[in-house]
């Protein structure tokens, strides 16, 4: 039998492919990239292992080209990705493609970008280039720059394009030396660690004592409780031991302050990985981490797949955040993969949140995680007080009740800032014809158009479709079209009426679309010029508003009665995240929540007893209903342009295996928003109290689903541990 290469090729097929090794070159090691023929195309694949093939060699095609002489993916990462493919039941080729930076995925050489830096050889003066004015000019520039020299980009900025020819001649004459340096420079660092509270010190000590072996730590700390300082000191210990630390955050754009604190603290090269990076920059940072040149890697979700030969600690900030779960393609949870990675690597992992997920709290209760708590704010800061405003029999003036309006006035009068939270952008979620009842609806989704006043457009928030604002009702021709319901734009307009002369800024996706606009708005808030902030969940994360003394949550009820069992958990987390913006400095904060259901047990518990008590109550509900974390679920979603096809497909695949007592299948049912973007959607829920049983069922079931002929008329995907059931 011939030795063949098992290669992961990016394709939706759930298997690896066998190829013959390239002629006249050594066998590529597992983790190397190769170019292979695939159908009529060529693809970049990753060698998984070598194996004797059952197929006759003449039926196999040879690898076309070897792209790496040594493995691009180290063995530990390769094994982790194999686990990811198995657990999430996703094609191994697509898993590899997800893990690799785009530039490396398309076959670019595994060479980090370098900056060319030019320095003048001591003793050379512009005089020496007097017969070549261009060279003389460059010498003068470099002389002025001194020892620091000039980077290629700086020279282009100073000299314009076309300096390279003259520079080459200077280098050839050995008047100028050129060095290639890493684009990843050390951060300034130097800032001293803060004095720790007793709770912080306990937390740091627990994590540090676990360096060198696996341990999972859940750090539950109230907002303003100093979680970041615990991260920083735990990371400092790992770095001091010569290890690499990986810090995962939900969204870089929303956490500039956190990134800044790491830079100020550690004078080491730090890679910041996020979706905004250029392909080359990302590949460079990834390769530098792989070479062990970067001790500190901070990044969003996909940074969990960064190769780290000296990994010593993983930190996941805001571990409850839904953005750690990828919602398309490989539907992995970066937090969960991080725990597995830490376990396999034998290093500690620190999961931090003010409002931990119920999953993590359950893991703490069962002893899988060590529960660390920060219950006090360091310094003089006091946590905000929470209160409910009963909206029943209370007239609302553009979303504001009289008690809330009075509180806003009081806080403004005493010099505080006010933050009003409404998680709905646009002017109004509905545009209605007063005369005939017509409502603007998206033609591709089961959804209303949102009216955006600033742009004078109707927009669908689900598929992005939009159209100009109609002047007349498309159904009856009446001009009496009225906005119905509240959006942030409408609140902003109402506030200008209620509080004339008080500057209000709105922060939502629409107001911050232009580059730099977010920073500009934040600056007006920080400077105290804007006194009222109105915004969506964009306001809830990361930012500190030390002058805010009142937080008003205009609508808390949507999370109470949703069909999604996670809705109340999300509502509580969001309320506390927003509440945490208040009173971070010396002024105590007040949080007022408007609701039609002040007696709702979960909401009342949250307000009177706080998040831990809320989480206990919510966990009890989950246990009674046998929902996660007391059960393990997977969701098979299907969609098609033809109505009926997705349901039909799911109905037939639901019967592919004989019923099993350990695994329940619920549905299929149409998605609550059945049509979205022109596609009909349905889903089938698989549930078991035993994770291994569910996994085994999926192992046997998915190949049958994949082979089912009805699958050709729908697009389907499997989501293991879905965060959105709908």
């Amino acid at each position: 039998m011939t030795t063949t290469l098992r290669i992961a090729v990016p394709t939706p097929l759930r298997r690896a492919f066998d190829y013959l090794p390239p002629a006249a070159s050594p066998l590529p090691a597992p983790g190397c990239r190769v170019r292979v023929p695939f159908g009529r195309r060529t693809e970049i694949g990753v060698v998984l292992d070598h194996a004797p093939s059952a197929l006759a060699p003449e039926r196999l095609r040879p690898v076309l080209e070897l792209l790496d002489s040594e493995p691009l993916l180290p063995a530990d990462l390769l094994a982790l990705l194999d686990w990811v493919a198995t657990y999430y039941h996703h094609p191994i080729g697509e898993v590899m493609a997800t893990a690799l930076p785009v530039a490396l995925r398309r076959g670019d050489p595994a060479r980090p970008q370098r900056i060319q830096r030019y320095r003048l050889v001591p003793g050379i003066s512009p005089e020496q280039g007097r017969r070549a004015p261009r060279q003389a000019a460059l010498i003068a520039r470099l002389a002025a720059a001194g020892d620091a020299g000039l980077a290629a980009a700086e020279l282009t900025a100073l000299e314009g394009a076309g300096w390279q020819g003259a520079m080459q001649r200077l280098v050839a004459r050995e008047w100028v030396v050129v060095e290639a340096e890493s684009v990843l420079r050390a951060a300034p660092g130097g800032e001293m660690g803060l004095h720790l509270t007793a709770e912080q010190a306990t937390a740091v000590a627990a994590v540090v004592a676990s360096l060198g072996r696996f341990g999972a730590f859940l750090l539950e700390g109230i907002t303003g409780g100093g979680k970041t300082e615990v991260y920083l000191q735990a990371v400092a210990a790992a770095l001091a031991a010569g290890q690499q630390a990986l810090v995962l955050v939900p969204e870089i754009g929303l956490t500039p302050q956190l990134v800044e604190r790491f830079r100020r603290r550690f004078a080491v090269p730090m890679a910041v990985l996020h979706s905004g990076l250029a392909d080359g920059e990302r590949a460079t940072a990834w390769l530098a981490a792989r070479a062990g040149e970067v001790p500190l890697v901070l990044g969003t979700r996909s940074a969990i797949f960064t190769p780290l030969p000296r990994l010593g600690l993983i930190v996941v900030d805001e571990e409850h955040d839904a953005s750690f779960k990828q919602q398309e393609g490989l539907r992995y949870s970066a937090r969960d993969v991080a725990v597995v990675r830490a376990h396999r690597a034998g290093v500690p992992i620190l999961l931090g949140s003010a409002t931990p997920s119920l999953e993590s709290l359950h893991n703490s209760a069962t002893g899988r995680y060590h529960h660390l708590r920060l219950s006090q704010r360091p310094g003089a800061a006091r946590p905000p007080t929470l209160g409910l405003i009963d909206l029943r029999r209370q007239p609302l003036d553009e979303g504001l009740s009289a008690p809330l309006k009075a509180s806003v006035e009081r806080h403004l009068a005493s010099g505080g800032q006010v933050l009003l939270f409404l998680n709905r952008r646009g002017f109004s979620p509905v545009l209605l014809c007063h005369e005939c009842g017509w409502i603007g609806r998206c033609s591709r989704c089961d959804a209303h158009f949102t009216y955006h006043a600033a742009e004078r457009r109707l927009r669908c928030h689900h598929c992005g479709a939009e159209r100009p604002l109609p002047t007349h009702c498309p159904a009856c021709g009446s001009v009496d079209l009225r906005p119905l319901g509240l959006g942030t734009e409408r609140i902003e307009e109402a506030l200008a009426r209620h509080f004339p002369g008080v500057e209000a800024v709105r922060i939502d996706r629409d107001a911050t679309r232009r580059k730099g606009s977010m920073e500009r708005l934040l600056a007006r808030i920080q400077a105290g010029e804007a006194r009222i902030l109105i915004g969506t969940q964009m306001l809830a994360k990361g930012h500190h508003f030390p002058l805010v003394t009142l937080v008003g949550i205009l609508e808390a009820d949507r999370g109470l009665f949703s069909a999604d069992f996670r809705a109340s958990e999300r509502m509580a987390q969001l309320i506390l995240q927003v509440a945490g913006r208040a009173g971070r400095a010396e002024r105590p904060g007040e949080v007022l929540i408007q609701t039609h259901h002040p007696d709702h047990p979960l909401l009342a518990t949250l307000v009177t007893e706080g998040y831990p008590a809320f989480a206990q109550a919510a966990l009890a509900e989950r246990q009674a209903a046998a929902l996660p974390p007391y059960a393990h679920v997977a969701l098979l979603r299907a969609e098609a342009t033809q109505a009926g096809e997705p349901l039909g497909f799911l109905e037939s695949v639901a019967r592919l295996l004989p019923p099993e007592p350990e695994v329940q299948l619920w549905g299929p049912v149409p998605a609550p928003m059945e049509r979205r973007g022109g596609r009909y959607r349905a889903q089938l829920l698989l549930q078991s109290t035993q994770r291994p049983q569910l996994q085994r069922y999926l192992d046997r079931w998915l190949p049958l689903v994949e082979g089912h002929e009805a699958g050709r008329r729908v697009r389907w995907s499997l989501d293991v541990d879905p965060v959105d059931l709908f």
Binding site: L431, E435, C436, Y451, V479
Partner: protein, 104 residues
């Protein structure tokens, strides 16, 4: 289908102006009509109050210039007042004229 109405009366409530999201003004006001009509061979008293809607320009501005107590002559058509009340009617003005007080 025919739908045409001419009616005169006294403005009894101040006008109320709104602007639609698309920027079209809508002015509403109430008109009290009183007159004597011949019915079943006898003269009788007619008295009623009506809601008038003036949409767009120049009607909205003309309507807004009216004051309580003004005598107004409207021509227009009938339509339902809103989508929830099929039977509640309003007059949509097509012309607005100032009238002289007429004697009963």
């Amino acid at each position: 289908m025919e739908n045409r109405l001419a009616i005169a009366g006294e403005l009894v409530e101040t006008t109320e102006r709104r602007v639609t999201p698309a920027g079209i003004p809508i002015v509403r006001f109430r008109l009290h009509h009183r007159s004597r009509r011949l019915e079943a061979g006898r003269e009788r008293l007619v008295s009623c109050e009506l809601q008038v809607v003036a949409c767009g320009e120049p009607l909205a501005s003309q309507a807004q210039a009216l004051n309580v107590g003004d005598w107004v002559r409207i021509t227009g058509f009938l339509s339902r007042s809103d989508h929830r009340h099929e039977r509640r009617l309003v007059i949509h003005a097509e012309t607005i004229g100032r009238g002289e007080r007429q004697h009963d």
